[in-house]
């Protein structure tokens, strides 16, 4: 009898030990299964497709590096890279100072209704790129839109100014819209960093005779540098993935491809024209570009940390 009980206890103990051993795998298995199905498999498949040409839905022929060779001589791809890089450059270099300035303002103790302002500036981000795109397409309408009317009233600009219809004005309109959307978000990051700075440092500096600019350069800037680096990396990578905003604003790449981005070009080639092989080539090239940019930024941030 006692032997049976002991046997049962031993079996239960062994089962318990076995499930303890298996538990981590069971925990991670849902993620692994989903990641392999929707992450790894598409990556492997797109790598395979990048070296093939698809002809219709079923026929695939190996063409080696032909897609990559074609890409190197594809003026549309260069236009897309140029537009994306331009957008990234202006997004980062306009967004950062504006977000920081806004954060400094919102961090000021004398400002009343700070929480309301924070919400107001952050709220465009909450509605998403599609809604912002729709809204922008309405306010930029020539003659009757809010922006042309404002420009006409304040700067005597032509009432028929085509902010989304003139290739030269598309990028400023896009960058402006993105600023409106993301300045509030980046401002929140900076605000969090600013609030972490010890106020006593400012008081001590003031006692030592440091003016506001000196306090900013020697106290604020070093304190928020890590956050600034994160914001730069996030803004750059986000800019390279730009798609919905121009796509919704102009219902496509805009006049003379002025709003064509790399991801939009990938979408066009893959889903409008049906060349999945070439679309995969564009995707892998974009991945490589993003990787190189990220590596450069990580390197620069490492060097900056070293200097700090």
């Amino acid at each position: 009898m006692s032997g049976t009980v002991q046997g049962e206890q031993s079996a239960r103990f062994s089962l318990w030990r076995q499930q303890q051993r298996l538990a981590p795998y069971i925990f991670v298995s849902p993620f692994l299964i989903l990641f392999c199905t929707f992450g790894i498999y598409p990556i492997v498949k797109s790598f395979y497709l990048a070296f093939n040409t698809t002809n219709g839905p079923r026929s695939v022929v190996f063409t080696g590096l032909d897609n990559f060779r074609f890409l190197l001589h594809d003026p549309d791809f260069y236009t897309a890279v140029y537009n994306t890089a331009t957008f990234a450059f202006f997004s980062v270099f306009l967004q950062l100072p504006l977000s920081l300035a806004l954060a400094l303002l919102l961090n000021a103790r004398w400002l009343k209704g700070r929480n309301t302002f924070r919400f107001v500036f952050f709220s465009p981000y909450l509605v998403g790129q599609v809604f912002v795109g729709v809204l922008a397409s309405v306010v930029f309408v020539p003659r009757f839109g809010l922006v042309p009317r404002f420009l006409h009233a304040t700067l005597a600009a032509n009432l028929d100014i085509k902010l989304l219809g003139n290739p030269a004005l598309v990028m400023p309109a896009l960058v402006g819209t993105a600023l409106w959307m993301y300045v509030g978000l980046n401002c929140i990051y900076f605000l969090a960093a600013l609030q972490a700075v010890d106020r006593e440092l400012y008081e001590a500096a003031a006692v030592d005779g440091a003016n506001a600019w000196q306090q900013f350069v020697h106290i604020t800037a070093p304190a928020i540098k890590p956050v600034a680096l994160v914001v730069v990396i996030m803004s750059t990578l986000g800019s390279f993935q730009l798609f919905e905003l121009p796509f919704v604003m102009m219902n496509g790449p805009g006049p003379n491809k002025a709003g064509l981005t790399i991801v939009m070009y990938l979408y066009q080639r893959g889903f409008d024209i049906g060349n999945l092989g070439y679309a995969s080539t564009i995707g892998w090239t974009l991945a490589l570009m993003v990787l190189l940019i990220s590596l450069a930024q990580v390197r620069i941030s490492g060097a900056m940390r070293g200097n700090a």
Partner: protein, 465 residues
Amino acid sequence: MDYPPGKAPLAILIMALASGLGLLLLPAGKSSGNLEVWTFADSHYRAYQKVVPHFEAAHPGVKVDLQFVHGRAVTSRLRAAFASDLHVPDMLETEISSAGTFFLGPLEDIGFVDLTAELHKPRPDGPPWYERIVKSRFAPYTSRRVVNGVATDHIFGLPHDVHPVLLAYRRDIFQAHGIDAEKLTTWDEFLRVGRGLMKELNASSPPGQIDHYLIGLSDTDSGDLEVLLFQRDGGYFHPDGTISLDDDVAVKTMCWYVPLVVGPERVGYPVGWNWEVTEKFLQTDFLLCFLMPDWFSGFFQKQAKSGAGKLALMPLPAVKPGGRRTSTRGGTMLGFTKKSKQFELAWQLGLELYFDVDSRAEQFQETNILPPLRAAWKHPALAQPNPYWSNQPLGQLYAAQADDTPPQYTSPYIQLAKEKMSEAICDCVDYYGKKGANGFEAFVRKRLKQSADEIRRQMKLNPYH
């Protein structure tokens, strides 16, 4: 209960197992019917909702699952489904500019059923369907294949429409200035008189400001240009799928078009898709005329209320006296998927949706879309005066031009061709805006060739071409 890793992981484990089990036990998202149909147009969806009950009553045991799917989603979902051999509906509608992109690759790989034989089959009640429909409407849904030097056309879709284009004009304004627009039968006459009218209307505007334009024409998009290109028997492709957008017709059309949208003789202003703006155009008499395909006239009626009773329709002015008085814009095909196991049933429903005279007449009343079946044009609904359009018999006006509607030949590269044409317009407008007519024709020829060469290069990327 003691669980060594802690209570939180235990809770997560229980939730994961419960939700996983729930997902496994839930029934898969199955179609609610046994005949699945996708349409991308809201107006079609509403019209078909009325037809489906009749079809179901006539076919006991059949349940039609009619789904309204966004146009872009139709294209991307279908492309992915054809490529991966996943679920597709039994039949679906796709828009003219994406239809051709599904005809890429060997015939046996195309996901749609080849309807050529079915359409040419003699019928007990008269000639084959092919003979009863405006022939030019099969062009956008046809893929021409050449085997051993013999060209054969394969039709993969039933045409839903003809989409003839007429000219909508502000009859109230034209009449107030003593102009009988219907007497302006050529573009030259129309532009000469229209420029005079524009000048009169703009006389009171501040210097340098134009508050009234003659006609809605885009300076960045190929949509309006292609209407005028088709009218001249031009287009993007030849029937065999070779490129025609750099031929003489295209060059001449571009040279004629660009001065209409830029420069001192400008008469055109882009219309776009914002109906609030179109309303403003009508309220402020900003635009006097519009290129008006039948489907667009339906949108106008519903969305631009300010035009009611003020607008009227007339045939397009011809390029030359006695020439074609219409063109075409847009279109929809109904395709039957090869994967469907009930083609016969789907075909019956397709015929009822597209070729039943009474239901198409009802659909016309809802959408202003003229059916491609000639027999339907005699229906009394098409002769009814339409109060929005100055009490004109809208259906008869469109039907009178329908047989003269030019073909729109297609290719799997049709989307690319439209993109490249739009880019060429932008460059030509830029050139003309800066340098005028000096060297313009040579520039247009070179620019269109550049566009065509780019498409040829993309075509060559495909080793099958």
